[in-house]
């Protein structure tokens, strides 16, 4: 699965984008976050304030209980500050 990061989530993870093979046990966004936190210290730091993280699945906003289904891209970012 292709994973993208924006703003301070991107800065903490240290990459803009990465492709990760997901264990079959991962069904939802929340599962994915739990998995990412185990990868290394950077990922753990990025997802430390889990409530502050927003998620998009194939460029649509979703909640963390959303099923990953056959989405090709998931993105993590802080609350938006455009406008």
């Amino acid at each position: 699965m292709n994973i993208r990061y924006f703003a301070w989530v991107r800065e903490r993870v240290g990459v803009e984008e990465e492709t990760i093979e997901l264990p079959a046990s991962i069904a939802t966004v929340a599962d994915l976050i739990t998995h990412l936190k185990t990868l290394d210290d950077n990922h753990a730091a990025a997802f430390e304030e889990e409530d502050a993280i927003r998620v998009a699945l194939d460029q649509m906003h979703v909640e963390t209980d959303a099923a990953l289904g056959d989405a090709r891209e998931v993105a993590f970012f802080p609350p938006m500050t455009g406008g």
């Binding site: 993208r4 924006f6 703003a7 301070w8 998009a56 460029q59 649509m60 906003h61 993105a75 970012f77 802080p78 609350p79 938006m80 500050t81 455009g82 406008g83």
Partner: protein
């Protein structure tokens, strides 16, 4: 039939006059045109620039979804949303929303709605570059913006 909104995400500046004329010129059905321009401000004199990061693809898609919701809710004759990204210095434009309608209430409400929703849903993030140099901080989302967006539900 609802109009098709014009949505653009770009680094270059926009032209208020040209974008307004696009929605009125050669027409007889537009009675009200409301424009909202959001600018980079710096009252404290501590800001060199804002850096606007965006999610390419999703920014256009989400703005289009919001704009389509607006044209479905209000009887508009035209709707334009332009959001810039990249480095923007104080006094310069960030975002433009233009709503045209036969009647003023629809034009006001649609523009107001779009700005409220755009603030909380469009994937853009602002980082401050301080005037005194060094690395800046990310602008934090305001709970006031969430409340503003909740006015329309």
């Amino acid at each position: 039939m609802p109009v098709t909104p014009l949505v653009r995400v770009q680094s270059e500046d926009f032209d208020l006059q040209a974008e307004s004329l696009r929605l009125t010129q050669g027409r007889r059905d537009v009675g009200a045109l409301v424009t909202f321009t959001g600018l980079c401000r710096d009252e404290a004199g501590t800001l060199a620039a804002l850096e606007l990061e965006h999610y390419p693809g999703m920014a256009e898609a989400e703005l289009t979804r919001l704009a389509e919701e607006a044209v479905a809710r209000w009887p508009l004759t035209g709707l334009t949303v332009i959001h810039r990204f990249g480095k923007i210095v104080p006094g310069h434009n960030i975002v433009l929303v233009i709503a045209a309608s036969s009647h003023r209430r629809a034009a006001f409400e649609a523009a107001d709605f779009l700005m409220d929703y755009l603030k909380t849903r469009a994937p853009f993030w602002k980082k401050e570059h301080p005037a005194e140099g060094g690395s800046g901080a990310w602008v934090e989302a305001k709970t006031a913006d969430d409340k503003d967006a909740a006015r329309w539900t």
